[in-house]
């Protein structure tokens, strides 16, 4: 087998291995299946042309995620017309983590009571599509961190490598992203009628 064949076999194997993850991340970034498909194909194409720059083949996963993210930034982000909803503005723009913690703590009682009440089995009622819908509402910097770490299982260091930021920034975005996710889940649960189902369960018990 020639060196080129060996390189192609490695690339093909690794792309195949990570195709689900790449597509899932692309879906959460673009929030559109056609764009997600184009984004993965574009990332694969760019990855192949720069494969020689991958010094450690064991680092293929963060390396190709970084290429995917860069493709998204350069070619797809401008197409996204969905605005950041006002409900997230104050959390997304808070200046530091302690401010985020205070904002989380100041969330309305009905939210906290619903969220923290084990009898309502909120978590168990959430389907994959509910989680996706809630994640899709997050502003991009927080959405991508939650997806890379909590959905795809990257470490903070790997996520920092993918996004070209420090691990400290990842940690901060994680705190903020998860706070926002709670708010998004609450909003989604209301829209999907989960809240009324919970209230029915509670009043009938």
């Amino acid at each position: 087998m020639s060196e080129q064949d060996d390189k192609k076999a490695f690339f093909s194997r690794r792309v195949d291995e990570h195709m689900h993850s790449l597509y899932s991340v692309a879906m959460r970034l673009t929030r559109n299946s056609a764009d997600a498909e184009d984004l993965v194909a574009e990332a694969a194409s760019r990855a192949w042309t720069s494969l020689d720059s991958l010094e450690d083949r064991e680092r293929f996963r963060p390396w190709i995620f970084r290429i995917l993210h860069n493709c998204y930034i350069s070619d797809y982000r401008k197409k996204s017309v969905r605005p950041v909803e006002a409900v997230y503005d104050e959390l997304a723009s808070a200046s530091d983590d302690s401010e985020i913690a205070v904002l989380l703590i100041q969330q309305p009682d009905d939210f906290l009571n619903w969220w923290a009440n084990p009898e309502q089995e909120v978590i168990n009622q959430l389907l994959g599509k509910d989680l996706h819908a809630a994640i899709d509402c997050l502003p991009e910097p927080f959405r991508v961190v939650v997806v890379l770490i909590n959905v795809e299982g990257l470490s903070y260091d790997e996520a920092a490598e993918v996004l070209g930021v420090s691990p400290g920034t990842i940690r901060s975005r994680m705190n903020r992203g998860r706070t926002l996710l709670q708010k998004s889940l609450w909003q989604h649960a209301q829209d999907a009628g989960l809240i009324s189902r919970c209230n029915t369960m509670e009043s009938s018990s």
Binding site: H20, A44, L181
Partner: protein, 86 residues
């Protein structure tokens, strides 16, 4: 465990510090043993933060399960064709 309630206004500075480290702790990214010991001690003694941590653990598990967007066959074919042509 102390008798703190889940009422947000009863959270104190220890809770704020615990929140600051909570996700790193739950994600296995809190490397400093002293910081780990401190947050575990806090979670053992604060019902509110303990409950929040339990919820976040469950949400972590659900998020991990949720990442299963199946790539369409068209993408699989497209990538195969792309790589074949490299």
């Amino acid at each position: 465990m102390t008798n703190k309630t889940d009422k947000p206004d009863q959270l104190d500075s220890d809770c704020l510090e615990a929140f600051d480290h909570l996700y790193a702790y739950l994600n296995g990214e809190l490397k400093d043993p002293d910081a780990v010991a401190k947050i575990e001690h806090h979670l053992d003694h604060c019902r509110s933060c303990f409950s929040r941590a339990q919820i976040e653990r469950e949400l972590n598990a659900r998020l991990k399960q949720s990442g299963n967007d199946t790539p369409p066959e068209s993408l699989q074919n497209r990538l195969k064709k792309l790589i074949d042509n490299f």
